[in-house]
């Protein structure tokens, strides 16, 4: 036990004395969260729109006000005729135009179908789609409210409702994503580097030739990184909650356990990498290419899995990060309990066991 204690102490000395790396490890999560939160956002804020109000009635004005009040839109100009629309788009000032027909008021009152035209600049398709969705939702809601209390014809209407994230805030997406990336980075990459560093320096040779059990060497090396990873989790959650208003609706204890599970999965991947390579450089490259890239691209963090080609969807199943993000979203946003994430947790646990098994098989008690 004493041996184990001194090993962890030694490992902590390595981490604490390498100030630069420590600073990066602790500073990076904060930087990433703030960066995603404030700068790299796919949220729409104050998009400039143009209004062509041909009805010039109360309703068109109320809808316009609602659009502005949402915070997503800013009226750039009130147009007078249809011909101006294209000219406006060409100047690039406007992202979307809203055209109220002259018969709007009349049709609404008589419960006749009517059309409000939304025209968007689709040179940036994501933004265009988002704008149209937002505007449709806002207009739809208004129309419903107006119709309330009145005798309604039996029409089939779609009803848009954004569950769990009614304002479609992207912060709800990137906090789980960033957390996943950071935990993967700290756990997998840092442990694989820490272990290969001992090989590179030749100290592994001395450790192997000592009575220390290989398992103790490995466990002793990873424990400090578990602590570091969990500290990062807390920092990210605090930032998400207090700076961006991200909710944690489910149980904190469950969330903690799931994070621990994912950290161990990532650590076992890191150990696996370190058993297959002898240099820090190679360990880092493998970690980045084989672990970080899929974690960022195939986990559903940035690109929704549903919109990926079939092949990639299948591949995404073997990415631990995918399951962890699902679990995180369920617990944090939906507030669901263990009964709804057990399946994903089981998959993660299975993967972890597999990686540990392979690492143990690969770990050599000798030099070759």
């Amino acid at each position: 036990m004493k041996q184990f204690g001194i090993f962890i102490q030694k490992e902590l000395f390595h981490i604490l004395r390498d100030r630069r790396t420590l600073f990066i490890l602790l500073g990076m999560p904060m930087a990433l969260v703030l960066l995603f939160g404030f700068a790299i956002t796919n949220e729409i804020d104050n998009a400039r729109i143009a209004i062509l109000d041909q009805s010039k009635g109360e309703m068109s004005q109320e809808i316009t006000q609602r659009l502005v009040a949402s915070g997503y839109f800013l009226i750039d100009e009130n147009l007078q005729e249809v011909a101006q629309i294209e000219q406006h788009f060409r100047q690039g000032k406007t992202k979307m135009a809203v055209i109220f027909p002259s018969e709007l008021q009349e049709n609404m009152r008589r419960n006749l179908p009517t059309q409000i035209q939304l025209i968007a600049d689709a040179t940036d398709p994501n933004t265009a789609t988002t704008l149209i969705n937002y505007a449709s939702a806002i207009i739809g809601q208004y129309v419903q409210e107006q119709a309330r209390g009145q005798a309604m014809p039996m029409l089939i209407r779609t009803e848009v409702k954004m569950l769990y994230n009614p304002r479609l805030k992207s912060v709800f997406m990137f906090v789980p994503g960033v957390m996943t990336v950071i935990l993967m980075l700290v756990s997998a990459m840092m442990t694989s580097i820490a272990i290969t560093r001992e090989k590179e320096l030749g100290t592994m040779e001395v450790l192997l030739a000592s009575p220390l059990k290989p398992a103790m060497i490995i466990v002793g090396k990873v424990i400090p990184y578990i602590l570091l990873a969990l500290a990062n989790t807390v920092v990210i959650l605090l930032l998400g909650t207090f700076v961006f208003g991200m909710p944690v609706r489910g149980s904190l204890a469950l969330l903690g356990l799931e994070c621990l599970l994912f950290v161990i999965a990532a650590l076992s991947l890191g150990i696996l990498i370190s058993t297959r390579t002898d240099s820090q450089q190679v360990a880092m490259l493998i970690s980045l290419m084989v672990l970080m890239l899929p974690t960022i691209l195939l986990s559903g963090f940035i690109f929704p899995i549903e919109s990926m080609p079939k092949v990639l969807q299948v591949i995404s199943n073997i990415i631990p990060a995918k399951w962890f993000i699902i679990i995180l979203k369920n617990i944090m946003l939906k507030g669901t309990g263990a009964e709804f994430v057990w399946k994903e947790s089981l998959i993660l646990a299975g993967m972890t066991l597999f990686f540990i098994g392979v690492s143990v098989r690969n770990f050599k008690i000798r030099l070759e």
Partner: protein, 324 residues
Amino acid sequence: MPLRPSNHLTLNRITMATPAIQVENISKRYGKNVLALNQVSLEVGQGELFGLIGPDGAGKTTLIRILATLLLADKGYAAVNGWEVRRDYRQIRSHIGYMPGRFSLYQDLSVEENLHFFATIFGTTIKENYELIRDIYVQLEPFRTRKAGKLSGGMKQKLALCCALIHKPVVLLLDEPTTGVDPVSRKEFWEMLKRLKEKGIAILVSTPYMDEASLCNRVALIQKGAILSIDEPEKIVSGFDKPLLAVRTNDMYRLIHDLRDFESTHSAFPFGEFVHLSLNNPIWPEAIHAYLAGKQHTGIEIKPAQATIEDAFMELMTQGEMVD
């Protein structure tokens, strides 16, 4: 190949009869082409200071790693203090001190922290075995809190030796401890080894420096994975039985070639300021003088020479056709 009975239950009965190190017909191949060790056999007695002497790539590190249980031999039997290297590796790991070829301590830990770390992982304390390392550690004491990476080469080696000794090993395996270390530190290091030997620790030390052979009880000369000779250093040197002369003139380069063309020459190799000329049959120095004068050499000087371990090594290499 017979497996020897393991002695780990009868540790207290190990006597001088159990060699500290036994190596019998050990072979080791890397990949297909590199035969690192070819049927190597040697034995190191209890309390013996044994030198494994040969150039880089001769197989020294491989042999030491096999004994340190870090590599498995392809063939042969090897045991440390009676423990077989494959089966009893745990016993060996607990009871040997091993110093790898390059500095293998934690550069970002202080002198004291490194020593404390190694003491603890071997389940002991600095205090318990301080007696053994005191001579060496007093020299490090002033730098107790300095990071190991900031020590001079000689100091690093002393610290590494302390760390390898802190658990009072019965056998010490040192892989090229004096390579890259300046002459003063080298001398000090060998003095330490001598004192450790007197305390009854068997030491196997490898070195590429031939002149260190005379500091060992016995040496094995090794080249290209094979042992050229095992004996006391003096006996290896006296085994060189050809007449040997030291010759110099003002033109060394031409001298070497002219001597090689001389009819009675067995070999001619530069040796510091002289050329060591070994002869197939005894010849009067005057005859050589006349030969060289005839080749327009000036400043001719010829005197009888004492063979050195290098002369012996080269002779053994030539006999074994181990020259590249």
